[in-house]
Amino acid sequence: MSHGNMNLTLKIWRQKNDKETGKLVTYPVKDISPDMSFLEMFDVLNEELINKGEEPIAFDHDCREGICGMCSMFINGRPHGPKRGVTTCQLHMRSFKNGDTIVVEPWRAAAFPVIKDLTVDRSAFDRIIAKGGFISVNTGNAQDANNIPIPKPDADASFEAAACIGCGACVATCKNSSAMLFVSAKISQLALLPQGRVEATTRVKNMVAQMDEEGFGNCTNTGACEIECPKGISLENIARMNREYFVANIKS
């Protein structure tokens, strides 16, 4: 079936599982429409592979609208590809030119082992959240929501930090594989709200400890994470987390 008129050469990382080594495999794709999303281009390729009796390429995706954080492709050396502020699923083929060669790899970080092809295991993020990325309030214990007024700028800043989709692009792009942007976004969201202050000390200490334990690297302030973050999570969050961490350690 013909869709459009772009012809491309894809070099895609294929790896059977976490035990075997992988390699880049070249696939030409034809008749791609500029209106397709990057993942729809992968659908076309996979359909072709299936029809040829080959195994399709495994990649993570679900919402296909930039919010679930599941898609995760390292495209031409950049997580989520060349455009700023978008996830892989929001990248459209009009961002490429006919004849381009596109290299697609999985997220690479010791804490994100490859499962298969472009799919990696990001459960380390869940374990970090489980250590403190919450406010300990049981169901039914809440007071009226308007009892604590929250200044709009604080609420807005908290929301901006909370917009993190947990995709891991920040880790993938960082030469140290640091998870500071992700962790600091959650710390900030809760630190900015009065409800979140109660557990601020233990939260930051426990989450940072888990982050280290998972094998994420240190932050050396290269700032690549902020540039590649599809949700514009700001480096200010890292500064805030460092302050929180400093204060927490003085307190105890």
Binding site: A58, I67, G133, N146, P151
Partner: protein, 659 residues
């Protein structure tokens, strides 16, 4: 006697739930520790249920097919969540939310459930805010509200256009807290493939570890299905790619009745299809109808650009047809009106299957108010535009960005093009007042059940229902069942029922691989979607539905002869996952058409062409159809319908008018 007992408590509507809560049997803390609950799904319904039950002391296992609980499809909800807080002092109340929901659902929902939903709605907001969900606020520090379709009060709470994300991340944080405490065991990248019934009660599930491909057996004293909706039966929908009916369908085949399967919501404001590569559709939040005006050219086949069409040559057809609600009529009404205009040749864009959603007037209006706020007395037109844009950007910025990203057009400058798309399924597993299905011990929560929205769901009410079910309903109602189960010891998963259920799941996998056919799973899914959209979509009729049933049966035969599933079972194999889901969608599609055929009235999202007024408005037939159709699976693709008659005691059933 009917097999359906909805177990609605006695007493006046307003007191049913309060009385129920104070009289329902409790389980003491020591016993809770030995009772195990399986929660399938980690969306708003599943995550809130799991964390609440774990807090109460139950041992909980949670399953989801994504790589993390945080990615459940609830994350994608944009517009907001309703609650009868009356913070705006505009006359809202529990009763009014209840009334709007029943009316919005076109009188096909159960009063008692809906009243309960409305009465716990305010607690949801309290709970979420306490958990650190950063909902939008006003400058005074108080929570902000917006209005939504089908209502005349402002009761919708929101977080920019990412309300679902913020609520889900809140519920997920509560869930992870319990994971950290060891009260919840989390199984991500697991797909439920069977329920296990023992002596007439649900006692567990079979799940496939999606990475290793191994089938696993899990025991639970009760099982909650919180597995979302089945809109993907249409192939193209606003649901996430993995959203599926498999869990609910497998439960249905093991005895759970399926309620009103044909009740589907087609959302009026989605980005139109751009080509045959399209893999999913993107919703533009309904909140956009709050400020945007919908129109088409007055002239058929008008090829001018939107901005070249003068005001008096535009037909604001919703404002014209429904002056009282205008652009804010409920979804089904708005969707059909768009289809009507496009079918009549007034559509816009390349495909002519789209209408305009225009923000020009809103930008001007907001520009003026903003100028006043800033004390600028003689603002220039350019200033007004800039101010107006700023306000619109603050309210809807991410939606506008998303639109531009997908279409390559700037919606601040040219009107957006929109068209209806499948979005939500009101139908689902039939449940009683306790949220229990017809299989004892098996519950359904959130979008997976058929309960509160009747034939049409109002905007911002699904998030409310998911969290109501999980935070505030199931923690009580599960006690009614589990209090009688305290003497039941955990059943060994070597029990023959587990062995057999695993064999059933394995047999399907083996069968799929054995076919070695010539066509991909997507090939079949697309064909199913087309049949469903054409014949069981926005408008349905007797002839089309009968054809659809025949076509779907033939498609099913062909699928089981000719599908090709690559790879192996003992591996991470997304194609195998898809194949299982599509097989279930095909069966469901047939039942949906049967249900639509049976219901020869129009109500809510279900529009039967044979049942309309002269002006083309939907016509209900209350004497004949004021019931829930609950379908029992009799095996071998045969079904028997049971009726739950709906009684309206608090509300007088009336024609639904938004004029």
């Amino acid at each position: 006697m009917s097999k359906l007992d909805s177990k609605i408590p006695e007493g006046p509507l307003e007191q049913k739930w309060e009385k129920y809560k104070s009289s329902v049997a409790l389980v003491n803390p020591a016993n809770k520790r030995s009772l195990e609950v399986i929660v399938v799904g980690s969306g708003l319904a599943g995550a809130s249920a799991a964390s609440s039950l774990a807090e109460m002391g139950y041992k909980v296992k949670v399953f989801c097919f994504q790589d993390s609980a945080r990615r459940a499809h609830s994350i994608a909800a944009q517009g907001g969540i309703n609650a009868a807080k009356n913070y705006q002092n505009d006359g809202d109340s529990t009763y009014r939310l209840f009334y709007d929901t029943i009316k919005g659902g076109d009188y096909r929902a159960r009063e008692a459930n809906v009243y309960r939903l409305a009465s716990v709605s305010a607690n949801i907001i309290d709970q979420c805010v306490a958990m650190g969900v950063p909902l939008a606020r006003e400058y005074g520090g108080m929570l902000s509200n917006r209005s939504f379709g089908g209502t005349q009060v402002q009761r919708t709470f929101y977080a920019a256009g990412q309300t679902g994300q913020q609520l889900l991340l809140g519920a997920y944080s509560g869930l992870q807290r319990q994971v950290g405490l060891g009260t919840v065991e989390m199984f991500a990248r697991h797909e439920m493939l069977e329920v296990v019934n023992i002596e007439g009660k649900c006692r567990g599930i079979i799940a496939r570890d999606l990475i290793s491909g191994k089938l696993e057996r899990h025991f639970g004293h009760a099982v909650l299905l919180c597995t979302g909706g089945y809109g993907n039966v249409f192939y193209l929908s606003t649901n996430a790619m993995g959203s599926n009916v498999t869990a609910a369908w497998k439960a249905h085949k093991k005895g759970a009745f399926f309620g009103n399967p044909c009740f589907t919501q087609i959302h009026p404001t989605c980005i139109p299809v751009s080509g045959d590569h399209q893999s999913k559709l993107t919703l533009m939040s309904e909140s956009l109808r709050n400020d945007g005006r919908i129109w088409v050219p007055k002239k058929q086949g008008d090829t001018r650009k939107a901005n070249e069409i003068p005001e008096d040559e535009r037909d604001y057809y919703l404002e014209r047809r429904y002056p009282a609600f205008g652009n804010l009529v409920p979804r089904d009404v708005a969707s059909r009106a768009a289809k009507e205009r496009c079918d009549a040749g007034y559509g816009v864009g390349n495909s002519k299957m789209a209408v305009y959603l225009d923000y020009k007037a809103a930008i001007e209006r907001y520009g003026k108010t903003q100028a006043k706020k800033l004390n600028i007395s003689n603002p220039t037109a350019e200033q007004l535009r800039v101010f107006g844009k700023q306000v619109v950007e603050e309210k809807y910025g991410n939606l506008f960005e998303m639109y531009e990203q997908i279409t390559g057009e700037n919606p601040y400058e040219v009107p957006m093009r929109i068209y209806p798309a499948v979005h939500y399924t009101m139908g689902g597993l039939w449940v009683d007042y306790n949220l229990m299905t017809t299989v004892p011990g098996l519950y359904a929560l959130g979008e997976a059940n058929f309960s509160d929205h009747g034939a049409n769901r109002l905007g911002a009410s699904a998030l409310m229902q998911g969290l109501a079910d999980g935070y505030f309903v199931i923690p009580y109602t599960i006690g009614a069942y589990l209090s009688k189960e305290i003497s039941v010891k955990a059943i060994s998963t070597d029990h023959e029922a587990f062995v057999n259920a695993e064999k059933d799941a394995q047999a399907i996998i083996d069968k799929l691989f054995a076919i070695k056919g010539t066509k991909s799973v997507d090939h079949f899914h697309k064909r199913l979607g087309k049949i469903m959209w054409d014949k069981c979509g926005m408008a349905r009729n007797d002839k089309g539905l009968k054809e659809a049933i025949t076509e779907i049966r033939a498609l099913r035969e062909e699928f089981w002869k000719d599908v090709r599933v690559p790879g192996t079972a003992n591996d991470f194999n997304p194609e195998l996952e898809k194949a299982g889901r599509v097989a279930d969608f095909i069966e469901l599609g047939e039942l949906m058409c049967m249900d639509a055929l049976n219901r020869s009235e129009s109500c809510g999202g279900h529009f039967r062409e044979e049942s309309q007024t002269e002006e083309g408005e939907a016509m209900r037939k209350d004497e004949e159809f004021a019931y829930v159709a609950a379908w029992e699976n009799k095996g071998n693709h045969t079904y028997e319908m049971h009726k739950e008659e709906l009684k309206f005691e608090a509300i007088k059933i009336a024609a639904r008018s938004y004029k």
